[in-house]
Symmetry: C2
Subunit: 191 residues, 2 copies
């Protein structure tokens, strides 16, 4: 009753698919509460092979985090492209909108929340700082906005994390609507 043997692939290709699945799986329950076997199952390979492809659970998580930041940077960069030539404040606002759109994805934002919580592991803290270094630098350089505006941009990003992780979007309470005001709505699908 084992699954039919998958078509073989190179280790590199397999690693790439596992990383992509790992982002989603780790995003659900975080680093410590996610067994490697869950990622393996999502990637449809055996746990043993995951350990062969990555340097332990930590290596797997770090790869997922790296992938996460790569995708976020791509999103922001793309957004900056679309508002080229606009005033700094406008560019930054558009980037903020693009980031808020990721609330629908959930995965990329949640993984950052989990990584922050696991930042007592030095390697994770290091990867996190590396990621934010790139995000802040990109936001500043591509918008040309002054430091305080960039700081506020990042702060709003962190607020997005709170909204997603605590499940605030769509809550009727006034305090929740106050926090989510101006944020992209998640499952407004077909509109």
């Amino acid at each position: 009753m084992t699954a039919p043997p998958l078509p073989r692939s190179t280790a590199d290709a397999r690693r790439a698919t596992v990383v992509a699945r790992a982002v989603t799986v780790f995003a659900r329950h975080g680093y410590w509460a996610t067994p490697v076997a869950d990622v393996a199952a999502a990637a449809k390979i055996s746990p043993a092979y995951v350990f062969r492809l990555f340097d332990g659970k930590l290596g797997l998580f770090l790869a997922a985090l790296e992938h996460c930041f790569t995708r976020i940077l791509a999103t922001l960069d793309e957004s900056a492209d679309r508002s080229a030539g606009e005033a700094p404040a406008v560019v930054l606002e558009r980037m903020g909108d693009a980031y808020a759109q990721l609330i629908a994805d959930r995965d990329l934002l949640l993984l950052q929340v989990h990584a922050l919580s696991a930042a007592d592991v030095p390697e994770i803290a290091e990867a996190l700082r590396g990621g934010y270094a790139r995000v802040v630098t990109l936001a500043k350089e591509r918008s040309g906005a002054p430091d305080p505006a960039v700081q506020q941009f990042i702060a709003l990003g962190q607020l997005c994390h709170l909204i997603v992780a605590a499940g605030l979007q769509g809550l009727p309470a006034g305090w929740a609507q106050l926090l989510t005001a101006g944020m992209a709505h998640p499952d407004r699908g077909g509109g």
Copy 2:
């Protein structure tokens, strides 16, 4: 070689001290990566007794989180007292300063980060929402500031969490200084 028996105390008093220690211990490594035995050791009682005083590990964490929010609300309330009669924006800014001072404490901010990461546990998400409901409501009512200002206040609070958890304060890099600009400095203590 067992520790000399502690002076007896009532269960309620013991619970209170355990909760206070639990805030610190959970703040270090988070919910999943912290064994109950670590909290017990910090409180100098046996793990078995912790399970008797609280409803499982989850009950212990929830009590710690509640305690955390109580202390934060007290801090904010106190700050509002000190700036009574000032303009809304000023009151809010003073509250922000008071919150940023907690960066030195670390514990209260870190516990929120960990709670957010563990918010896939329904009870933790619920407690978190309850806490933020009170924080937002207090900030709005005591400052009288408009919604967007309160939203920004909370966003800056989340930025504080990032700074503490990722260890950004004191980093020489430009992007880090951009993020920490205006935040209270932690251990500028005795030299």
